[in-house]
């Protein structure tokens, strides 16, 4: 499999060509530094993202509270994570760091609140 991608490790934005052979071996070309190779390899094998979203809130000074996955999760798990977050309804107050969902989308990663929302 071959993928073209822009490296995001620095403003250079090198255009990478990443090839994964049938035996799993990954080759990165087009990079100008070591970071490009690491990035290309990761994006090819298991791209990871921190998901940031909103959880609905009852009784708060605002109707929503921002949240994020505490660590990056596999990109493929994003839709399921978003669905689980959207299904939540929490009660104010929420404080930064409070766990909103434990083990989101079976990733082993928690979703935590990122704002302090006081009760109304």
């Amino acid at each position: 499999m071959t993928k073209e991608m822009i490296c995001i490790s620095c403003p250079m934005g090198c255009m990478l060509t990443v090839v994964q052979e049938a035996d799993g071996e990954v080759r990165v070309t087009g990079n100008t530094c070591k970071r490009g190779e690491t990035y290309g390899r990761q994006e090819m094998t298991c791209p990871m993202r921190v998901v940031t979203s909103l959880v609905r809130l009852e009784g708060g000074v605002r109707p929503v509270c921002s949240c994020k996955t505490r660590q990056p999760i596999p990109k493929a798990k994003i839709p399921q994570a978003l669905e689980e977050i959207a299904a939540q309804l929490k009660r104010a107050p929420l404080r930064r760091g409070d766990v909103v969902i434990a083990d989101v989308a079976g990733t082993g990663v928690d979703v935590i609140a990122t704002s302090d929302i006081a009760a109304r």
Partner: protein, 415 residues
Amino acid sequence: MNRKADVVVIGGGPAGLAAALQADAAGASVLVLERDKEPGGILQQCIHNGFGLHYFGEELTGPEYAGRFIDRVKQTGIEILTDTMVLEFTADRRVLAVSAEHGLLEIEAGAIVLAMGCRERTRGALSIPGTRPAGVFTAGCAQRLTNMEGYMPGRQVVILGSGDIGLIMARRMTWEGAKVMAVCELMPYSSGLNRNIVQCLVDNDIPLKFNHTVVRIHGRERVEAVTISEVDVKTKRPIPGTEETIPCDTLLLSVGLLPENELSIAAGVEMDSVTSGAVVDEERQTSIPGVFACGNVLHVHDLVDNVSHEAELAGRSAAAFAKHPAPAARAHRVIAEGGVRYAVPQMLSDKAEGKIDLYFRVGDVYRGAALLVKSGERTLLRRKKPIMTPGEMEKVTVDVTGLTDDVHLSIETEG
């Protein structure tokens, strides 16, 4: 009500909070005036992550970055008045403000820090032809509605401008269930970060159309479609025959930020026509003695980390001035030329010495060029850069001890 404070900070966003903390640490009494209901500024609506890598050494979301500063402020004697709008300040450092709770406030300040931030360019600044339906938002306005007020601004979206807020909102709206049809960018490159182009657009299969603009908005009550067109790279005029009409109910504008300097201009602060911010010296002092500026009201930054650093400098300078009001004389200019669009600070005072950070932006994309900093015949610095782009603010550190001449920044391309 009449009040006094050593340092009055106008604006309680990231710049204002960082300036207040440093002024407080230097022993000044500090009063922060914030027009919103809470401090934290625009960071409160920037719920995505990527803030703080330089300042905190970890990636935070906007509210977390703001929250850390707010927590620190709470441990000090700094007073923040929210819901308080500054109406004017004067050259003799009197600040007039108004709030529902306190009525009219007249504050005598030892020093003033301007930290009002910036606002978005709107449709009016672009003159897009067409009707005037609902559904045209600036990206930041849509961001606030979505992330703080809990409203969804639309379901089918076209975004004009590929600034970072537009890119971030493309992902945000997609993740909230909307369909983002396209992002149009007038220039042949994006002013947004690569990271945002990849993680917001590419990840979500949203097309980014360079050399494209919106030429017409359709719809009576609500946006029904927009017509986009390719533009000539040089003249930026639409190329006839390239029009494409995209059905949508929402148009987001991410077409630039403008420092919010009405107060500064009214007070007579000397302005830089390129940055639309004040002309400052290395202490971030404006042309009015005892009035300092920092953050996006001074020049629009890409990274809040840089705002915090700059604001800390302004806060320290303001506290020092409040203690010993000794105006610094302006000794040398810092001149941006030859590919460098602007530099901050624009001035060096007669007290400037040692190593000083110069922040600048280039006017075009340069690969393999060098930045040259000269003063008279003396070369202060020649730094080769693999790439410089208009979207990324650059910083260099130069030693300005014993300068006898103005400082010139320019780009040296290899011939």
